[in-house]
């Protein structure tokens, strides 16, 4: 957030960090600064089946959504699928994991499943020495 010259990167009151594509100028400072390699820079939305094929309806939809949300020539990151979270859904990777290895919830609530798991399963953050206090925790192996 600090390195972002345009304040495109913002932290919401619930802690989720987002990138405002309209403000992002694509300077990539954040990608350099991020100790987790979590920033991706998307130059141009590309199709899956090659340029010689017309875009499928799914790709059309995906492209539209992508550009609405992230734009092109901007920096992107995981924002916990904020549009799903706002609808009361979990981020897409949670139902996507067949093994139930991922959890999502409210860290501020000490009674929530995630808070509880971090306590009981020795949750830890990556690279705490950077003092970023990331909201992604890993549970220790059992």
């Amino acid at each position: 957030m600090k390195v972002c010259p345009t304040q495109a990167t913002q932290q919401r009151s619930d802690g989720i960090v987002t990138v405002d594509k309209d403000l992002c100028v694509g300077c990539k400072y954040c990608a350099i600064a991020c100790p987790y390699g979590a920033r991706n820079f998307v130059e141009k939305w590309t199709s899956y089946f090659g340029d010689d094929q017309p875009l499928s309806p799914l790709e059309e939809y995906g492209k539209k959504k992508w550009i609405e949300k992230f734009g092109e020539g901007t920096s992107t990151k995981c924002d916990f699928c904020v549009e799903r979270v706002e609808k009361g859904l979990k981020p897409a990777c949670i139902p996507g994991c067949p093994a139930n290895a991922r959890y999502f919830g409210d860290l501020d609530d000490p009674e929530s499943e995630v808070s509880r798991l971090i306590k009981t399963e020795r949750g830890f953050q990556l690279a705490p020495e950077f003092g970023t206090n990331p909201r992604v925790y890993y549970l220790s192996p059992r």
Binding site: Q10, R12, T18, V19, D20, K21, D22, Y48, F49, G50, Q53, P54, S56, P57, L58, E59, E60, Y61, G62, K64, E68, K69, V82, E83, E86, A92, P95, G96, C97, P98, A99, N100, A101, R142
Partner: protein, 866 residues
């Protein structure tokens, strides 16, 4: 925030419950459709299969739906020449022309000899093939059939043995209660195998609970990496390791579950010196020895006080020995030191693991679940691909499973469980599907729900062959690809007086040029012999390019109806505590372009050929075994009617769930659920059935098949001695190679992000596979590579002694037994019509020989022999 800006107005936003069809697991899913576009597939929380979770292949489903390389219109071959590498010169034709041509060809063959057809089907769409394939074959009058070419992707030995021992297609640990898993080279619980998703999270929970997993595998596979112990083993030798461990448990440790062996197996049955049961002259029932009364009695005599398991006795002047004693003595020929030489696993390791397994079985213990006290045996030995994919697959799978049975760890709490379970009491309102197993006259278990009419047990009665693969004469096989792919097939057909020759091949989604064995061999020796080939496909494949005359644009799983995908439960229904779920498949979008559903087309063909009544009759007849009991009279398909496919689906569902619960009802959630009962799940001690630990019926079958073969002057075509009553390990041809030129054992493993040869064209799945260092490469041990002067990502040719070669890039790893090469997936596509799949990965199957020398007589099965 940016999100609110410029968002478009959504007119339609629906979720539709259906079933995934990206692999045979058939997980329950919900498809999200927005303004007519299917934008996402997620797990359906209401479904028993997956309970809301799916795997990446399922998530990638919409990419299959919208792939621009899909077949969207009927096509005909412009080039009369057939074969690999031939340009088929596809030409678009109308449905009318396609159907007219097909009907005309079918009519000609129908008149000449209907037996001359073959149905070939994919294993990915298993629920679909139970209708159109079954119905059409019977109505038209032919029996030639295989799935996916019946090659190394097929579980001939595993399913057969699981059917006999567990009444199910596959076995897994009771992850919910198991404490110790012996995993022989299979990815169950680690992303693949039947019931993949449910097992993945059950296995993850089991690990968190403290369940220990020991993995025998030449490769540090996903399951080995996640396991507590990896035991590198020489490929194709798992059976020898298992038999040595049985020996340790029975003869060194003296541990076994005597009560289980007495009451739940044929271990007490008396065996005569000739190897067959001592039968009661009056009832013909097998006899046991009551050790308290000192008397021979029939096995089910209510007066039995206690069964003799160990001592030979004299009955009517013959020395008879309890079957258990014969097994116990038989495995003495597998001392761990001998097994070490075969398997490469140290004898001390085999001893230690055997002891851990036997002790953790906690013989004698019970547990209370739902108020019922049930034997608790929290260990399981499981297997699949690794045990299955070699010569002697049947005995190998069985040897591993016998580890379970000697300690009573089968289909009870904590133990190895058949999928489903196989034992369903039915929906509360109707009592259907009812698939409660029963005992035959010998007291042995017969499955009630099965995917084919012929069950694993009792063995089918050998007959003079009428099928091209001579299947009818072999008592222990599902289909035999060797007879078909072998260069000698014409000779065999003449010898066995097969009165017809291949005429029409109907293909439903299989790519047998790639999925069976060496591509050139199967194409030249067999597929090209068919005069007319029509094929339902979603992509053009190496098969269509080589031999198809007409390709029909099939619907994918998101565009079609299927009335029952999770039943029979033995195939893809999750085992263990939880709900039953009868899932359906329904279109989440109207089929695009000119795609049409396979089941609708086959029904239409039956109608046009004038055999619809027979088709209906065949479907009525197929229901009892596959879906748990016959249809009520009013729901049976009646002759003379003109049913649509949806009406047929509706009748079956209504019949199972009640008059108000037909297709429309099932469509609401895509699944109908009801609670499982604990005695359905852990059925072992609730049903009066036994399983064999002595396979007396194999020699019975052997004598019959031998006699038939001799009648046709082919008495020596196979080594019949393997059809015997007790398991043994036999080397693969590869193990017997004694030259020095071919110095490594290549083997195939399942990459979890891919299904058979289907999914490599999916850009999302291809992307994951490319990020996996192993999915598309040949894994070689770092030391082996060094000796050969190879570096990471070098291109190499692999060649087998028969001169077949494949090309690939090597990946150096310490995670492989140094004598081996590991190759994932059914990869290496070359058709220009799948540009994403093309050139990715290694075509392992090209190294597989399909001929008599590489054929396992028990069950008859072609194997990789390179």
């Amino acid at each position: 925030m940016a999100l609110e800006k410029g968002q478009s107005v959504v007119k339609e936003d629906v979720w539709i419950g259906t079933s995934c069809g990206q692999c045979y697991c058939q997980c329950g899913v919900r498809a999200h459709r927005v303004d007519g576009v299917v934008i996402r597939v997620e797990g359906n929380p209401k479904a028993a299969a997956g309970q809301g979770r799916i795997c990446p292949k399922g998530v990638a489903g919409p990419m299959l739906l919208y792939d621009p390389y899909r077949v969207n219109y009927p096509l005909k071959r412009g080039n009369p020449k057939k074969g690999i590498g031939v340009d088929p010169q596809w030409q678009r034709i109308s449905w009318e022309e396609a159907m007219d041509t097909i009907v005309e060809k079918l009519r000609e063959t129908y008149k000449k000899d209907p037996r001359a057809c073959l149905f070939q089907a994919t294993t990915t769409q298993t629920s679909e093939i139970r209708f159109a394939v079954t119905g059409f074959m019977k109505a038209f009058g032919f029996t030639n059939y295989w799935v996916s070419g019946g090659g190394v992707h097929c579980g001939n030995g595993a399913h057969f043995m699981n059917g006999i021992m567990h009444a199910a297609w596959s076995i897994v640990p009771d992850f919910q209660h198991c404490n110790y898993v012996l995993n022989f080279g299979c990815s169950k619980g680690h992303g693949a195998g039947h019931v993949a998703v449910e097992n993945a999270f059950q296995a993850a929970d089991a690990r968190a609970r403290g369940c220990r997993t020991v993995v025998f595998d030449p490769f540090l596979s996903a399951q080995a990496a996640k396991g507590h112990e990896w035991v590198p083993i020489r490929v194709g030798t798992d059976g020898a390791a298992a038999l040595a461990m049985i020996n340790v448990i029975l003869n060194e440790l003296g541990i076994y579950d005597a009560e289980y062996i007495k009451l739940k197996t044929n271990g007490s049955y008396l065996i005569k010196p000739d190897g067959f049961y001592k039968r009661d002259p009056k009832t013909n029932k097998p006899m046991i020895w009551d050790r308290v009364e000192g008397k021979a009695k029939t096995f089910d005599d209510p007066s039995i006080v206690d069964y003799e398991l160990l001592e030979s006795v004299n009955v009517d002047g013959e020395t008879c020995t309890p079957a258990f004693r014969l097994l116990k003595d038989h495995v003495k020929s597998y001392p761990p030191e001998k097994a070490e030489k075969i398997t490469g696993v140290p004898a001390s390791t085999l001893r230690r693991i055997a002891k851990e397994f036997a002790e953790e079985a906690r013989i004698g213990s019970k547990i209370v679940i739902d108020g019922k006290e049930i034997p608790y045996r929290p260990v399981a030995a499981i297997f699949f691909r690794g045990a299955q994919g070699h010569v002697n697959s049947g005995w190998t799978c069985l040897s591993i499973d016998l580890l379970n049975h000697i300690v009573g760890a089968a289909d009870t709490v904590g133990s190895s469980l058949g999928l489903g379970p196989p034992n369903s009491h039915g929906y509360p309102d109707t009592g259907k599907p009812n698939t409660v197993m029963y005992a035959d006259d010998d007291g042995l278990m017969v499955a009630k729900g099965w995917v084919y009419d012929h069950k694993a047990y009792p063995l089918h009665e050998p007959k003079a062959p009428t099928r091209l693969d001579l299947h009818d004469m072999f008592p222990t096989s599902i289909y035999n690809c060797f007879t078909i792919c072998s260069p000698d097939n014409e000779k065999l057909w003449q010898q066995f007086k097969i009165p017809y020759r291949p005429e029409i091949l109907i293909n439903f989604g299989s790519n047998s040029v790639m999925t069976n064995s060496n591509a050139e061999a199967i194409t030249e020796n067999y597929l090209k012999k068919f005069k007319f080939v029509f094929s339902f496909d979603i992509y053009l494949t190496e098969f269509t390019d080589a031999v198809a005359d007409i390709v029909l644009p099939d619907c994918c799983f998101l565009e079609r109806y299927t009335p029952a995908v999770t039943f029979p439960s033995i195939f893809s229904h999750p085992q263990g505590l939880g709900n039953w779920g009868w899932q359906i498949r329904q279109p989440v979008i109207e089929p695009m372009y000119e795609r049409r559903d396979f089941n609708e087309i086959m029904l239409e063909l039956a109608k046009r050929l004038g055999i619809a009544d027979k088709y209906y009759e065949a479907l009525n007849a197929a229901v009892p075994t596959r879906y748990g009991g016959p249809l009520n009279e009013e729901n049976k398909l009646k002759p003379g009617e003109d049913y649509t496919w949806q009406e047929i689906c509706d009748r079956l569902i209504r019949d199972r769930f009640g008059p108000d619960k037909g297709l429309e009802y099932a469509k609401k959630d895509g699944v109908i659920t009801w609670p499982k009962k604990v005695d359905e799940i852990y059925w072992k001690w609730f049903l009066n059935v036994r399983v064999p630990i002595y396979f007396e019926f194999f020699p019975v079958g052997r004598e019959k098949v031998k006699k038939i073969a001799e009648q046709f002057g082919a008495g020596d075509m196979l080594d019949w001695s393997r059809l015997k009553a007790l398991p043994d390990w036999y080397p693969c041809p590869t193990h017997m190679y004694d030259g020095t030129e071919y110095d490594l054992y290549p083997f195939y493993w399942r990459a979890v992000m891919h299904t058979n040869s289907l999914t490599m064209q999916n850009p999302w799945l291809d992307e994951i596979a490319q990020q996996d260092p192993y999915a598309y490469t040949i894994q070689i041990h770092t030391e082996t590579a060094k000796k050969k002067g190879l570096q990471d990502l070098d291109w190499v040719w692999l060649e087998n002694p028969e001169g077949h070669r494949v090309k690939g890039q090597v990946r150096l790893t310490e995670g492989i037994e140094p004598q081996h090469l590991a190759i994932a997936a059914c990869a290496g596509h070359w058709t220009p019509f799948q540009p994403i799949a093309k050139g990715k990965g290694v075509f392992f199957n090209d190294l597989v020989e399909a001929d008599l020398a590489h054929t396992d007589p028990h069950p008859v099965h072609a194997v990789r022999g390179s």
